[in-house]
């Protein structure tokens, strides 16, 4: 049901974990009704220099988490904000129809982390 790219990102997730003293933290989802994803990132001169994810969810959710961190790493915040959920699914070579909703968290969590970073910087 999952293609090789999805499986690769699930079995060998990139950037899994959590950054100590992150510059931005984004958490989306609700454990009671669905999946949870937390993204932590470090930013230097508007560029994402380090990024980690933690995800409670199915294989599709973990693979999309992994992929979104790859897509965002090294990008400017402006570029990262333009990454959509659809971009993540596309970068994975597509997801099964019934799993498309699982990918919805990934970009949302990334954007939430960037917003958190900006909020901290402009008190």
């Amino acid at each position: 049901m999952y293609n090789e790219t999805v499986k690769d990102h699930f079995y060998h997730p990139r950037n899994a974990g959590e950054l100590e003293d992150a510059d931005g933290i984004g958490e989306v989802g609700d454990i009671n009704c669905g999946d949870i994803m937390r993204i932590t990132l470090r930013v230097e001169r508007d560029i994402i220099t380090a990024i980690r994810f933690k995800t409670f969810g199915c294989a599709a959710a973990i693979a999309t988490s992994s992929m979104v961190t790859e897509l965002a790493n090294g990008k400017t915040l402006q570029q990262a904000l333009r990454i959509s959920n659809a971009d993540v699914a596309a970068a994975l070579g597509g997801l099964p129809e019934e799993k498309l909703s699982c990918s919805n968290l990934a970009a949302d969590a990334l954007h939430a982390a960037i917003r958190d970073y900006r909020a901290r910087r402009s008190p």
């Binding site: 499986k7 699930f10 973990i62 019934e98």
Partner: protein, 388 residues
């Protein structure tokens, strides 16, 4: 890599003797048992022999067995057939919140069409309150439908006690025994059951065949109208080879019941004990009294990780298990069974079911116990909610 199949509640491999019994009916004896010529005669007897074999597993008479195409058809037939036949008499059904979708969705459909349905709750262990069941009965009640063994947790329901209640109130009693038949001793007569459903592919017969016990005298409308097959209770040309296979599987199950139970019970307990001893923060789903569960089933939640992701991790190691019932994978909701048992949604979504079979070995179990802790650990490290 060695493949370890621990998803027997989803489906089982065909037993070699069953395959051997059915092959001649795929290769040579192709006749339609309704035909009177040589080709029909060569198969008509085989159908009746299979009927005897199924009947003898259940403790009923052959004439009380109707062949169907699967467990789902059996459940639909039993429930819709009763509602249709007794429509002058009442329109209330009592069932439970933890039934298989074949029962639940059928009841929901009938509800939309004007039936009143009581879905009985269960407690945290998954057990029913029989007093509550009895007090739900009204003079409009025409059917009680309670499964024998739950496909997800393995929980067993006290059908004999429920049978006594149904008899006291003269209400028809249906039991979905798809998971129980062939795994424990069933005596439909002693239990006071009117309608009982089983499915071949859970007990070593192929997919696409099942049977319904219809107690002599039970009023039931057919679900499939048409030809005179099955004494007008189920139209459609007989699936001869698969019916022969189902008969053989029932015969084998009856003969091997004691050994099977002892064997899977020992291995299931080994797996259960092993997981509880080596992995922290796990939660057993189902009745804590192991005698009140199917001997082959273990359902367990691993806090902090989602069931499917653990499944795929196990799959990488050749281990096939399941999260929730096979029927609802592809759906994103937490298991309705575990939710009905009051399990928090996150734990419900962290559940994995291991269901053993006759061919499961001690090495299989030990291999799972070796692989599982690391898989759980790996996923917990990625989890935003797991706290060690």
């Amino acid at each position: 890599m060695k493949q370890i199949y621990l998803d027997h509640n989803a489906t089982t491999p065909i037993h070699p003797e069953v395959l051997e019994a059915m092959l001649p009916f795929l290769r040579d004896h192709f006749g339609n048992p309704s035909s009177i010529h040589w080709a029909g005669r060569a198969v008509a007897g085989a159908i009746e022999q299979a009927r005897e074999q199924v009947a003898s597993l259940l403790g009923c008479r052959a004439a009380e067995i109707v062949f169907t195409s699967c467990g789902s058809e059996g459940d639909n037939l039993a429930i819709k057939g009763t509602v249709d036949a007794l429509r002058g008499q009442g329109n209330h059904i009592i069932t439970t919140e933890v039934e298989h979708p074949a029962v639940l969705e059928t009841c929901r459909y009938l509800q939309e069409r004007g039936c009143r349905v009581t879905f009985l709750p269960v407690d945290r262990r998954g057990a029913l309150d029989l007093e509550q069941l009895e007090s739900a009965i009204t003079d409009q009640t025409i059917l009680i439908s309670v499964m024998w063994g739950n496909n997800e947790t393995g929980n067993l329901f006290p059908l004999a006690e429920i049978g006594a209640i149904a008899a006291r109130h003269k209400v028809c009693l249906h039991s979905d025994a798809v998971q129980a038949a062939g795994k424990l001793a069933i005596d439909v007569r002693a239990a006071g059951i009117d309608l009982l459903v089983l499915s071949g592919h859970k007990i070593g017969a192929p997919k696409g065949v099942g049977a319904v016990y219809i107690k002599n005298g039970t009023r039931l409308s057919p679900l499939l109208h048409g030809g005179h097959q099955e004494r007008n209770r189920r139209a459609g040309t007989h699936n001869v080879a698969s019916i022969v296979a189902l008969g053989k599987a029932c015969e084998l199950a009856a003969a091997g019941l004691a050994t099977y139970r002892q064997q899977v019970r020992r291995l299931r307990d080994r797996l259960e004990d092993g997981i509880l001893a080596t992995i922290p923060q796990v939660h057993l789903n189902g009745h804590p009294d192991r005698d009140l569960r199917l001997a082959n089933t273990l359902n367990i939640s691993f806090a902090g990780i989602e069931g499917e992701s653990l499944l795929l991790n196990l799959d990488l190691h050749g281990i096939a298990a399941s999260s929730g019932s096979a029927c609802s994978s592809g759906s994103l909701d937490a298991s309705h069974v575990l939710r009905a048992m009051g399990l928090e949604s996150s734990l419900a979504r962290s559940s994995v079911r291991f269901s053993l079979g006759a061919e499961t070995t001690e090495e299989d179990i030990d291999h799972v116990l070796e692989v599982l802790p690391a898989s759980v650990q790996r996923l917990r490290e990625m989890s935003p909610v797991y706290k060690a």
